[in-house]
């Protein structure tokens, strides 16, 4: 099982300190602008910008590289297929397969887009604790029920992960092995069912307990609701860069 640690969220860089609400706005805008573009010149600069943001966050290099490699598994398979299936001018032949120039160009745009956005996501979103991001979401006028769901959901992920680890350990102590056998699969099936059962029992107890303590379906946020000058300066700088990207993409200059 993977760990749900937020190892990137500890830090002192400007990316860590900026208000999560602004970071959310930035990443959404950046993702939208980048995803909408096919302009390699602009996308290259976008990638450069996201790498600059990432280095400003001063995260552990090895962990970041690992993350980036994982993200690029899909991109790698795109390169293996798209150049050969995309119609266009012949560029390179390998036996019966022919790569087209347009195909390579398309694969390149995908790689640039995926990597720019994902790297920016690491720089902007992974540098805040999830609870702060959820509290920030509270300000964006999302449906109340959704926010409530989100908070309970986040709270119980860690509790249930511990629960599942316990169940797994008990099963392994009784000889559960991770093989492709019917026995393994049925054991996992029972594990999942037990987890769901325990979760439901727990949710009933929790809800009763909260009602007994006066829960009225409102979430109180202890987040500092003022925006500081540093946040706004950072935000403005990023907005300027994003505007430059839009200009490049629309092609006003060409």
């Amino acid at each position: 099982m993977e760990a749900i640690n937020q190892s990137f969220a500890n830090g002192n860089s400007i990316l860590h300190k900026t208000d999560p609400r602004l970071k959310l706005i930035i990443i959404f805008l950046f993702a939208l602008i980048t995803a909408a573009s096919s302009n390699i010149l602009m996308l290259g600069q976008a990638l450069f910008f996201s790498i600059v943001l990432l280095s400003a966050a001063r995260l552990e290099f090895k962990k970041v590289i690992k993350r980036i490699i994982l993200i690029n598994i899909f991109t790698g398979s795109v390169w293996l297929f798209i150049p050969f299936t995309y119609e266009g001018r012949e560029f390179w032949t390998l036996g019966p397969l022919t790569a087209s120039l347009e195909g390579i160009y398309y694969a390149l745009t995908i790689s640039l887009r995926t990597n720019s956005i994902m790297i920016a996501m690491i720089a902007l979103l992974a540098t805040s604790e999830i609870k702060n991001l959820l509290q920030a979401l509270n300000y964006f006028k999302l449906p109340k029920k959704l926010i409530l769901l989100a908070f309970f959901f986040y709270r119980y992920i860690f509790v249930l992960k511990k629960e599942l680890t316990k169940l797994l350990r008990a099963a392994k102590a009784r000889g559960l092995q991770n093989k492709s056998t019917l026995k393994t699969y049925s054991s996992y099936g029972y594990l999942i069912a037990m987890l769901l059962f325990n979760s439901l029992e727990r949710s009933e107890r929790v809800y009763q307990a909260m009602l007994a303590r006066g829960f009225n379906n409102k979430i109180y946020v202890n987040h500092d609701s003022k925006l500081h000058a540093d946040d706004l300066i950072f935000f403005t700088k990023v907005l300027l860069v994003l505007s430059w990207f839009i200009v490049l993409d629309i092609g006003i200059l060409s």
Binding site: I4, A31, T34, A35, A36, R67, I71, F74, S77, V78, L80, F81, I82, T85, Y86, G103, Y106, I110, T114, I117, M118, M121, I122, L125, A126, I130, L133, P143, K145, L146, L148, L149, A150, F151, F152, F153, Y154, Y156, I157, V159, L160, K161, L164, N178, K179, S180, T184, Y185, S186, Y188, G189, Y190, I192, A193, L195, L196, S199, L200, S203, Y207
Partner: protein, 201 residues
């Protein structure tokens, strides 16, 4: 398989966002306020289970179980997967933000279909027996295959030359579909023994 950022075209992304918004709005309406902790904990359980890896022959796979999610949650599957996918994107950079809409539909729609199929096959009385096994297996199976089909659709709608790559990815989903079908049937059978109220009416 979640689709990463920067792959799909804007029209496809827009349809994803619109569909998810509609589904989520309706799903939230269907969830009563007193059921929020229950739904949230089921979501957390689904999220945590997706972190498990089981071995399937030579490879290690992760379970989606969107068929099971559909049977338990009904229309609530939309906001649930929206949250699960959002968290996976933020925590692991698995999936993405602009593709959140598409990825949610890819999982939620087949899950919803599994919900309806389950209700049709089983009817009102949740009695153990062959019907439950068939309905459960079909639910799990359709969940995975439906998701694969919708992913292919989204990719090919963006760019026709994705067909080969998308078909290959989906072919590898077939054994997973069989596995999840079996698991879904098993889990539902077991849950009916110990807590029948969990299955959505």
């Amino acid at each position: 398989m979640h689709i990463s950022e920067g792959v799909l075209s804007i029209p496809v992304l827009a349809v994803g966002i619109a569909g998810t918004a509609v589904g989520t709005a309706y799903g939230l309406k269907k969830i009563k306020e007193k059921d929020i902790p229950k739904t949230a904990i089921v979501s957390a359980a689904l999220f945590v289970v997706s972190l498990l890896h089981l071995s399937l022959g030579a490879v290690s796979v992760h379970l989606t179980l969107n068929g099971l999610a559909g049977v338990i949650l009904g229309w609530g599957i939309f906001p649930v997967y929206l949250l699960i996918l959002f968290l996976q994107a933020v925590l692991f950079q698995f999936g993405g933000l602009t593709v959140l809409g598409v990825n949610t539909l890819v999982l939620a729609l087949p899950g919803l279909l599994s919900f309806f199929i389950f209700k049709i096959i089983v009817g009102e009385k949740l009695k153990e027996g062959k019907k439950i096994i068939i309905a459960g297996f079909t639910g799990g199976f359709i969940g995975v295959l439906g998701a694969a089909f919708l992913s292919i659709f989204a990719l090919v709608m963006t760019e026709a030359s994705f067909m080969e790559l998308a078909a290959l990815i989906s072919l590898s989903d077939l054994p997973i579909a069989l596995l999840e079908g079996g698991l879904t049937a098993l889990v539902i059978l077991f849950l009916l023994k110990i807590k029948p109220e969990i299955i959505k009416k």
